[in-house]
């Protein structure tokens, strides 16, 4: 289902892990995402690709209610995100936290279980074992006791992945899990993504490396303030669509965004 403009209206099937309908998001009145419509199919690895400032992270965050939406709706398996929060796993950008924080790799992995553990209850032995299993899946079990600042960038990224695995969600949103990791870690992460797909999970990944998109992913979303194209990689990931996404600014749209942002007298 290769699609370019115009994007037809979707019926939001309850089976779609993530269904976005006409979502617009603005920062300080400057629109950064226009009229996003997406229906992510179940059990796929999906790359979210676009130039800097295209709104990739914003799209993830707006889906999870971390950034207010100006308009539009987001449904996770047929219900608003807030109702189906437990079905969503999240891997934020690695730079978003302070890695000097005095916790161990195991402590971080266990954070994926906090929702399950519930308020006021401590992390028990069974939970620590589950966290250790998650670390084991990403090949970090030997580093469970390490303080996180003593890990390399790639290892830190794996710890984040372990935390997400511990969440045991059905839909995963990952913000640049491949950023700044070495080749071995990249391969390990791809292996984990594939095993997640085998378990029927859906993973949406903000991805930067245009070379590897068709190798790693089933579907691709090309984003530049709006969805330029999305669908199976084979059909959508074409030179022309890439040019539309990366080449030349979408002048009229960006001009409009500037106009919204500018204030009278400034």
């Amino acid at each position: 289902m290769s699609q370019s403009q115009p994007i037809p209206a979707h019926d939001h099937s309850p089976t779609s892990p993530l269904s976005i309908h006409d979502m617009t998001v603005s920062y300080h009145r400057r629109p950064v995402l226009w009229d996003v419509d997406l229906d992510i199919p179940d059990g796929r690895l999906v790359a979210l690709v676009g130039p800097n400032g295209a709104g990739k992270s914003t799209l993830l965050k707006a889906c999870m209610g971390m950034i207010p939406r100006t308009s539009g709706e987001v449904h996770v398996y047929g219900k608003p995100f807030e109702k189906n929060r437990h079905m969503v796993g999240y891997v934020p950008q690695r730079e978003s936290v302070d890695w000097d924080f005095p916790v161990s790799a195991l402590d971080v992995a266990a954070m994926g279980l906090y929702r399950k553990i519930g308020w006021f209850r401590p992390v028990g032995r069974a939970h620590r074992e589950m966290a250790l299993e998650a670390l084991d899946r990403v090949g970090m079990a030997d580093f469970a006791g390490r303080q996180i600042s003593q890990l390399s960038g790639g290892q830190q990224q794996r710890v984040f992945l372990a935390r997400a695995l511990a969440q045991n969600a059905r839909l995963y949103l990952m913000d640049e899990p491949f950023a700044g990791v070495d080749a071995a870690t990249e391969e390990a992460i791809v292996g984990i993504l594939r095993s997640m797909r085998k378990e029927g999970r859906t993973v949406l990944v903000v991805h930067h490396d245009l070379q590897t998109v068709s190798h790693y992913f089933d579907d691709v979303i090309l984003l530049n303030m709006r969805v330029v194209a999305w669908g199976p990689v084979k059909e959508v990931y074409t030179g022309e669509n890439l040019r539309k996404t990366f080449g030349g600014r979408l002048t009229l749209l960006s001009d409009a965004a500037e106009a919204f942002a500018s204030r009278p007298g400034s």
Binding site: M64, Y90, P92, D98, P102, V103, Y114
Partner: protein, 448 residues
Amino acid sequence: MIELVWLPLDTWIVAIAVVISMACALPGCFLLLRGQAMLGDAIAHAVLPGIALGYLLFGHSDPGVMIIAAALMGILTAFLVQLVHRVGGVEEGAAMGVVFTSLFALGLVLVRRAADDVHLDAEHVIFGAIELAPARVVDLFGWDIPRGLLVSSIMLLLNLVFVFVLYKELRLTVFDPSFAEVTGRRPGLVHYLLIGSTAATMVVAFEAVGSILVLAMLIVPPAMARLVTNRLMPMILISLVLAGICAALGHLSAITLPQVLGFEDASTSGMIAVVSGFLFLGVFFFAPGNGLVPRQVYHLRRAIRTISEDVLGALYRVRELTGDGKAGVDKAHLAALLGGGIPLFLALMRLHRRRKIRKSGDLYILTDAGEASARRLVRRHRLWESWLVEELGVRPDHVHGTAERLEHLVSENITSSLEKANVGRRLDPHGEEIPDKEGSDDTDQNVT
């Protein structure tokens, strides 16, 4: 001569100071980790109008009302800072500066207004009046205890409950608020609870130590604890202990030091801050693991071990070359070979003490035990050389320096892998014999 006059009053003062200090350290740990130590300062100042309003409205200070008013004031401060920061587009530090100075100034005006009715003046605002705290007592199950102690104990208890009941939520929201948000852990709520707890604690501390020095209690013990440990729970517990020590030593210094230094008197709150500062320096230099001095000591000890092993290696090679079991080397030659100075001197002392070498005239000679250690060392050296040449294809004239460093590794895993990789080799790349493995490896452990 220091004349220590310790009155029951002093015991009460120390008790109050210790309890307040510990109560401050709890939220302090999390503020510090959030990188918001200065928000503590902002709150400490901004609660002043709340306190002054309390005096004005109720004539006297009812602790319950004051604490709640201050907690709200603190939350208002944090909220206003965010508002100025987000809406006004002002940098966060500047936003804090705007909000807390304004509120503090408002507070001072109100204090001025209240001063006609109640005893509250600028000096109190700055230094507090812990010396006066024991004067006001309340009756608790037939015991007369200072009201300040009762109030601060309740505060400490509340903070302990807060931090330990919400321990994992605090840890998550401070470490990764966005993940906390996505997983429905309400980071905003947890943060404002932290701010509320900080503000309430500030008010309790305010009476005793004033609104400026309280920052020492809020931040310095957690900062010291952070230097000592890499774990959150130990950090919290250590900061509690250090907070208590600072407070107790602070008062002790306040009543003894003025005699020594020859001035009239010192305020307990001021001395707590001074003691905290000095303790911090001490921790900075001497903290196990991270402190400057232990790090230097560690490096020196490692250097001595390495040189000791190099001495053994050198003596062994001399014996090998001359074929003379009694061949030795004098200190000047060893120094020329290995670099002299204190490390060599200490290394020779160490080898002597362990009976690895003995001295005959000016010459140092291997003992039997020394020879066994040296043999294993040289074996490792030559195994490494062989391995580097055969497995990695390094040119034979390039491997000595690398092997010289690798030979000091005695990790069992590495050594056994090295043995396996070199099975059957008798000669090293330079044609020298690799000594046999014999006996157990009792070489000094040297972890690199």
